[in-house]
């Protein structure tokens, strides 16, 4: 894994609430990561394509519309199919507690719900970096 981690932040589905996604993107940039933000209304295929092209280490997905159970696993599947086997995928937004276990089973490494401090996300990223490099 490279010295400077590359992170893709994206919004799958049709949800336009991008305040959280943009905040996370900017805060991670300020924390020293290379961050790419796709904008809203991205299809799983488009996200996978950008993730591979940009050679990212992480993909962060944000969704507030309730479509996460369908779309997050679909993004994981598409990224893996496109060859992004080592990309760590995490998510955030309005996600009920009940849904988190299933999302994790389906390849979402972590879910950060509303009110999560950005430091928690950074800790997660650094923790993953250590795990991968060991």
């Amino acid at each position: 894994m490279k010295q400077k981690l590359r992170i893709l932040i994206s919004k799958p589905g049709l949800d336009g609430h991008d305040r959280g996604a943009k905040y996370i993107a900017r805060a991670l940039k300020d924390a020293g990561y290379e961050v790419i933000y796709t904008g809203i209304r991205q299809s799983p295929e488009a996200i996978a394509k950008t993730a591979i092209q940009e050679d990212v280490d992480f993909v962060g997905l944000s969704l507030l519309s309730g479509a996460h159970n369908e779309l997050f696993p679909e993004v994981v599947r598409t990224i893996r199919e496109a060859g992004g086997n080592n990309i760590v995928i995490f998510g955030g937004g309005v996600i009920p507690e009940d849904d988190i276990a299933d999302l994790q089973k389906n390849g979402i490494s972590a879910i950060f719900t509303t009110g999560t401090p950005v430091q928690t996300v950074i800790d997660f990223i650094e923790n993953q970096r250590e795990q991968i490099s060991h």
């Binding site: 049709l14 336009g16 991008d18 305040r19 904008g39 809203i40 159970n69 679909e74 507690e97 401090p117």
Partner: protein, 556 residues
Amino acid sequence: MDINKIINHKTKWEKSTLKKVLEKFPERKDDFSTGSWVPVERVAIPETFDADQYLDKIGFPGEYPFTRGVQPTMYRGRLWTMRQYAGFGSAEESNKRYKYLLNQGQTGLSVAFDLPTQIGYDSDDSHSIGEVGKVGVAIDTLEDMEILFDGIPLDKVSTSMTINAPASVLLAFYIAVGEKNGVSKDQLRGTIQNDILKEYIARGTYIFPPKPSLRLITNIFEYCSAEIPKWNTISISGYHIREAGSTAAQEVAFTLADGIEYIKAAVKAGLDVDKFAGRLSFFFNAHNDLLEEVAKFRAARRIWAKIMKEKFGAQNERSMMLRFHTQTGGSTLTAQQPDNNIVRVTIQTLAAVLGGTQSLHTNSKDEALGLPTEQAVRIALRTQQIVAHESGITHSVDPLAGSYHVESLTDKIEDEVWTYLNKIEELGGMVQAIEAGYVQKEIQDAAYKYQREIEDNKRILVGVNEFKVEDPMPDDILKVDPELRKRQIEKVTKVRENRNSDQVQQKLEALGQAAVDPSANLMPYIIDAAKSYATLGEICNVLRNEFGEHQESIVL
């Protein structure tokens, strides 16, 4: 009253009484400002408004510049419309929720559509996967709309529809339902949001690029002024701009700048400003900084009246009145200790009512967690009813007028708004300002600053960064049936099988041809297509082919 006497006394007070106290007991912070960083004076005095200017700046309710309200009697005459935004899942389920709300004393309907509907995709479109029925009700054809309003008297209730890019299509469905139920167009009352510019800035449910979108909006203005005189043709919205993280002044500035753009477009198309401006309405947010919010609403009214009178030469006073709906601030709700949100919503309700709103939606306490339950919705509605019937703040019109502090804040917000409006004018107008990313950048900078303050504990959010408890997430969250999309697809397939497809084709082709002619009003063609049971997606696709699709300009 000699102002200098007061100013001199204040200086004396600062040097003696105040100084002594500050030496012993410093204040909690070095700087006090509103939630949107407007500096706040410790003790406001009348120096901030000249008594001579009273009539020009504050005046009387129901008279220019409407600072004190658009009606002379305000809530002494009639309370605001209590209008809860609702809709989820299928038309059948939403219809049940509407009847429940009307039975609970709600006085108007407000329809939430799911995202595919809002972006003009049918439920069976691949773009719709995961989103059908989630943030609102799924509407594919006139048939869904017939079910949605089944048993609801459209001549008695007013209906607000949060629909923008395909506003013309949903209005066409509504007109058709009315006709089927024997309610003529001139009896229909309600609002379509129809505000595309803020979709590019903040909300994201755009379809077409700005130019054809403005044409559709102008077509609606023209059609409604002739055919549906009681319909509010647009709800120019600051709500979502604020939700995206703007300050209070930015919310007003960007909303009014959008309004200016719509008026310019309509005037350019040859419409007489006094023929349509009276049917424009606005939609604002109410946040927790109570007095700043009240000042914001008052400033917005005063500025709009001035714009309409001086910039657009409106003659009719109604054209100068800023009438608005308010929703309490969704982004102020916390997932932590959700019961606390009831208190936040109460403060925000006070802000909206003291600010002179015409209608109000109060958020439910559980909306940071998911869709609201029926019980949470009831508390939200009861909050409005308690403020209306028990608080007494409805007895006097604009009761905070003349508060040195509130008047001074109103002036400060007004100044900041004019600065923005001038800047946008310099950039060539709102379309250019949005395309250049200027507006988005201003909002994002404010959103980032706000969130940083929370992370750094400079801004306290109760239950989030202070006064925390370990509370388990509540489990009574409303869930939409994941099988809904399947059922919705079956429904739309059946409609497609049973309709007269030759007729549908013919109506869609006629619409396509009209779209090519920029002088044609598309509304009659859209209504014809809707009545033939063409789907929402089919109608929007005809227009997509002709107009193209908007691409987001990403600003970070």
